[in-house]
Amino acid sequence: MDTGIIIEKSILIVILFAVSLGAAAYLTLLERKVAAWMQNRIGPDRAGKWGLLQPLADGGKLFFKEDFIPTNADRFLFIIGPGLSMGFALMSSVVIPWGPDIYMFGKQIALQVTDINVGILFVMAISSVAVYGIMIGAWASNNKYSLFSAIRASSQMISYELALGVSIITVVMLSGSLSIKDIVESQHGMNWNIWYQPLGFIIYFVCLIAELNRAPFDMAECESELITGHHTEYGAMKMGFYLFAEYTHLFIGSAIVSILYFGGYNFPGMDYFSGNTLAILGVVAFFVKIAFFIFVIMWIRWTLPRFRYDQLMDLGWKRLIPLSLVNLMITAIVIAATSGWFSGNTTNENSTSTAQIESVEGSSSQTTNLNK
């Protein structure tokens, strides 16, 4: 391996790291601002213009707050919990293609740290281990509220992982690849998966909110019952880590949903551009989509009451999983039919062509009807 690529990737990683952390920090401010706007308030505005320094103030304060480990806590796990949360939150950003290739210093540079050919599986794996951060931290703090939160978080993760996975499979079937880059490439221009998979999108989005532990599925840190849930006993920067992790997850989660269903960095009319202009516009388009989803998730949080624990399970197991399976079946049948499986014409297989996608489009409305 030549050193160029190492330097290139390292720089990319550092940028990604900074962007994710910065985004997470400013998402806390955005959340507070969005809440304020919806509630006819102003929100933080005294730390800097429009409260722009608020995240820095919070960070600075947390950093210099007395750090505390309860006497009954398991010291090692108590410390490692927030770290795990944070680490896992940052890890999935490596497989995300942030934009079309860029040309710099006479080289073609991919805006993706690594294009694993099972990238989507990697994302799923990481997002499902992320709950360990919550679980370990909550268990270690030896507090009953936290323990409740740990139980809720992990069982919620298990129940929603399935529907999440199944709805991802449909996307994978459409694009025919597990690589995230391929998934994005297959949605060139406006040819986004949402047009073929509206139901799948809804299922995925609901499950995503549940995976992110956001309202109305924020069972783990539901304030009115469990105080703050898993980080009840945490103070100072450790809790800061949990907060950071939550918002980093939100950022990455929104990135993934825009990749899977909204074409990632693809945007309408992208054929008129090329080279670096295309790359920059692509990145911009991608970030606009991410911002939109972040906003929607916040918007949902400040509108809806939260589910009850058993209703959450009901929704997961009894509604979303069957629904996603039905969606999967129908998609499979339609793909099989269009690629000629039933007519015995199997040779046509390798063309994941527009013809096939068009017919899926035709059936998607039917799909939704069936499931209502």
Partner: protein, 186 residues
Amino acid sequence: MGKVTAEGQLEAINYEGFQLTKLDTVIGVARANSLWPLPFATSCCGIEYMASMAPNYDIARFGMERMSFSPRQADLLIIAGTISKKLAPVLRQAYEQMAEPKWVMAVGACASSGGIFDTYSVLQGVDRIIPVDVYVPGCAPRPEQIIDGIMNIQALAKHESLRRRYSAEYKHLLDNYNIEHDIDGE
């Protein structure tokens, strides 16, 4: 992680110098703008405290809308309402659980002095059991007055040395209230 770094920082700047004052100021400002309150709202003043959170006054402007019902995360203990003798130990426990630096604001007549309730069951002011930084008069105080109190707390936070918890006066204060402290650094 936080602990190591914070202590390390303190160790590193353990001499009076330019660096220290600079950092003091920056951190003071940061703290002042991010006072997460623990609302110990017991009665009437609690409703006025809610009103000051509500849109018309919106203490979120001070970066204070993130309530920490867990004492571990709170910076400012807002005692709003009557504290009876029966409740006093609970309040004290909440105070002891809070992590340094911490401030206490007594909102309203009852919390500050007992107010009209000069009775056998009411504590005549929370300063009998925990040190209070700012008193807000009124029964119940208007949100304007609560905000005034918060700004006083901010002023305290801004001008407080990073090392307040190591100072002899502070230890003496806690000793006065019989509050245990392990702030000599374990």
